[in-house]
Each structure stands twice: as C-alpha cells, then as structure tokens.
C-alpha cells in the first residue's frame, strides 16, 4: 500500500510538472527559450517512463533528449533565427476544435480499462505468450528486445527505414550545393592561420580559446563511444539496443564537431561515408531477412540461421541490432552535418 501511494504521488507530481512545462513552451515567443523548456519537458518525460517501468523507452528519451535534440534545435535556430513571427492572428476555430477533441478524449478515458489491471486487453492478447514462451523460444533476458527485434522484427525494419528516409530527406532538402565560394574562402582563411569570420565572438567579449569544454570533451569522447557500444551489445540483457546506442554514438561525434568545428569532424568521418553507412545499416537488416529466406524460413525468421533455433535467434537479433545502430548513428550525423553546414551566423543575440 505504501509503495502504491508513493507511485501515485510521483505520477501525479510528474504529470503536473509535464503540463506546466508544456504550457510554458506554448506561451513563450522566443524560440530559443522554447527549446530550453522542451529539454525540461524531455527530462520529465523520461522520469515518467521510468516511473511506468518502461526502461527501454526511458532510455531512448534520455539518449535523444540529452544528447541530440537540443543541439539539433539550436542548429535549426542558427538557420532560421530565434524570434517567432509576430502578428499571428488569434482565431477561435482551431481552439474550439482542440478543446472539443480534448473533451472527447477525456470522455473516452472513462471507458478505458482500469490502469494496471490484469484483465486489460493489452495484458490478455499476445503479451502472455511473449512472457511465457520468449525465454525458451528466443532466450534473451530483456523481453522488450525479443519483442522488438524478433516477434515484431518486421515493424522494426519499418522504423529503421523511416530513419533512413529522414536522413536522406534532410540531405536532399538541405545539402544542395551552394556557397561554394564561402566554403573555399573559409578554408583559405584557415590555411593562412587567420581567424575566419565565423569564429569571431559576436560581442567581442571573452577569450578566444574556450579551453574548459575543449579539454573536458577530449577526456570524455572515448568514454561516450565505449558507452554507446556497450548499450549496443547489451540490449539483450538490459535496457538499450540499436536505437539508443546509435544516438549516443552520434552524440560523441556531435560533441567533437562542436569543439573542433564541422570541417575537422568531416575529415574524421566524411558525409559520403556517413551516407554509405546509413544505407549499409538498412541493408544489413534486410540482408538478415533475405538470408533467412534463402535458408528456407520466412523473412526475418532467425530460427533457421543456425541449427540450434535459440542460437539462431540470438545471432539474428545481434546482427539486426547492429544494423539499426549503424543506420541511426549515421542518420543523426548526416542530419547534423546538413543543418549545421548550411547555417550562417546569426547577428542578433537572444535575450
């Protein structure tokens, strides 16, 4: 009873925080401030998932919210400026529609089965089978991984394709050849050892060398990579897997790009190689499916990969998770390259 009251209290508290944060995001006009507040909403969301015991989802929220999303938002703001367009007229219709839909949704929750009850449809449909059979059938301790990567491997293949498409789409829209001359000028300036115009502080205040982030990033980058790979290979045993690992790995590269500049990072991993990696990840995933078909099973049926079906499941899951990880990491990186490579410096500082 004690713990139940506590869990209820925590859930309610988090809900209030979530709603307060979201409402504040809606009311601020400065997009930069909205970005920072979205970070707070993401933290609260991760805590909510933790409280609901959905560790894998919380992990994804943590990796994306902490490492990537803020940086990508700021990259976007550097493209479009931080001030929301003013003079947007208030109109009653959208508000009325939103309120009506919200009211219907709240009414609908009364018909929902009680929270956490064992007779819920979600608990009686396929879940019991997963819970009972997957330890012997798949043999992976983390049941989420066996559901995502094996039982619903086809779905996950679709998700990877979505990320692949997102990466390619951003690339097509944002990375058309332009400003060739600017790039060359920048490179010239760098060769001569002079400060390019992009690296002059907007207000002229402060030191030119930011030693503190520089050194700390140097110390931490290898550990970020190892942690990402640890998450990649331990998705079978605990929270984690290809999606989270890919994001963490990309965060390491993004940190490097923030400190050393885009050019140097692109020399470490060029955009072309990143593009090849996006495709390679999807191909690895699909390839496992093709191989399993060639060996006489269905698409993505890992049982046939090895004589022992459990070992076959294991190896199949490992390989497709690797494919997922590669695609996600490369796609995040390509999106970052595309956004940041295009941005001109903004000349006005936000408040």
């Amino acid at each position: 009873m004690e713990t139940e009251t506590l869990a209820l209290f925590v859930d309610l508290f988090l809900m209030v925080l979530l709603v307060a944060g979201a409402l504040t995001v809606l009311t601020v006009r400065n997009l930069f401030v909205a970005t920072m507040l979205l970070g707070i909403v993401s933290f609260t969301m991760a805590l909510t998932f933790v409280s609901l015991d959905a560790v894998d989802v919380a992990f994804t929220e943590a990796a994306v919210g902490a490492g990537i999303s803020t940086v990508l938002y700021i990259g976007t703001l550097a493209l479009v400026g931080a001030q929301e367009k003013t003079g947007v007229k208030f109109s009653a219709w959208p508000l009325a529609i939103c309120l009506a839909v919200g009211a219907v949704l709240i009414y609908a929750t009364y018909e929902m089965p009680p929270y956490g009850s064992p007779d819920n449809p979600a608990q009686t449909h396929v879940a019991p089978r997963y819970v009972q059979v997957s330890p012997t059938e798949i043999g992976v301790p983390n049941m989420v991984t066996s559901v995502l990567a094996s039982y619903r491997g086809f779905d996950t293949f679709g998700e990877v394709t979505v990320i692949f498409t997102a990466g390619i789409g951003v690339l097509l829209i944002l990375s058309q050849r332009r400003r060739k001359r600017d790039d060359e000028a920048e490179e010239e300036a760098q060769k001569k050892g002079t400060q390019s115009k992009l690296r002059v502080s907007l207000t002229g205040l402060g030191s030119q060398h930011d030693l503190v982030p520089h050194i700390v990033a140097k110390l931490l980058i290898p550990f970020i990579f190892v942690f990402g790979l640890y998450v990649q290979f331990h998705g079978d045993f605990g929270p984690g897997g290809g999606f989270q690992a890919g994001v963490i790995f990309a965060a390491g590269f993004i940190l490097h790009a923030l400190i050393y500049g885009l050019q140097f990072t692109q020399r470490v991993l060029s955009p072309q190689v990143a593009l090849i990696l996006i495709v390679a990840g999807v191909l690895i995933y699909g390839g496992v499916g093709i191989v399993s078909m060639l060996m006489g099973g269905n698409f993505l049926d890992y049982n046939v990969l090895l004589p022992d079906s459990v070992a076959g499941q294991h190896i199949g899951i490992l390989i497709i998770e690797l494919g997922v990880g590669i695609t996600v990491a490369a796609a995040m990186l390509v999106i970052y390259y595309a956004f940041v490579g295009r941005a001109e410096p903004v000349n006005k500082l936000p408040d």
Binding site: T203, L205, V212, V216, L219, L220, L349, D351
Partner: protein, 117 residues
Amino acid sequence: MDLVLDIITWILMLTGCVLLIITGFGLLRLPDLYTRIHAGGMADTLATFLIFIGLALQSDDFLVTAKLLMVIVFVFFTSPTASYALAHASFVAGLKPMLDTTGSDQRDSADPDEGKD
C-alpha cells in the same frame, strides 16, 4: 554491521535531501543569474555525491557500486563544464552580474533587458 551501514545511509541521504531543497530554494530566491549558478552547483556537487554514496553503501553488487561511482565521476567532470559554458555564455552576451549589494536593491539585475547589448 548492517544497522551501522543503514544509519550512515540515512545520514548521507538526508543531508543530500536538505541540500537539494536548499538548492531549489536558492534557484528561486537568489537575486541574479550568477548567484543562482552557485546555488545550482550545490545539487551538482555535494548532493549528488552524498546521495549516490548513500546508495552505493546499500548495494551488495560490486558492479552496481562501480556504476554509481562512475556516475559521480562523470557528473564531477561535466557539471562544472556546463556551469562554465553557461556563465561564460551569459558573460559574453553582456549580462552584468549584480555586485556587492546588501539585498535591498535586488531587483536591478533581474531585468530582462540586461541581456541585450
């Protein structure tokens, strides 16, 4: 022996809780950004240390203890870096710190226009 460990955990974590509350209080109460950064620093350093050491005393798995210590080390590396980045960014943007006042004219620096040039 277990009782001693439990008591130590209680002391450590309760102190951490008190520090956390003071931190939150300081974030709301202190007059300007730079002083609030100091308050935030309390939660980043000592409160994190105390609470995680308290947890580490309770874990019987060596690997869990190792992970807790790793979190402490990483937080001790990254949080001052983030604080520096924030303080430096606001300094570069021209936000003037409020200097040596006795609390009567606190509202001066909390003016949003300070951030602009």
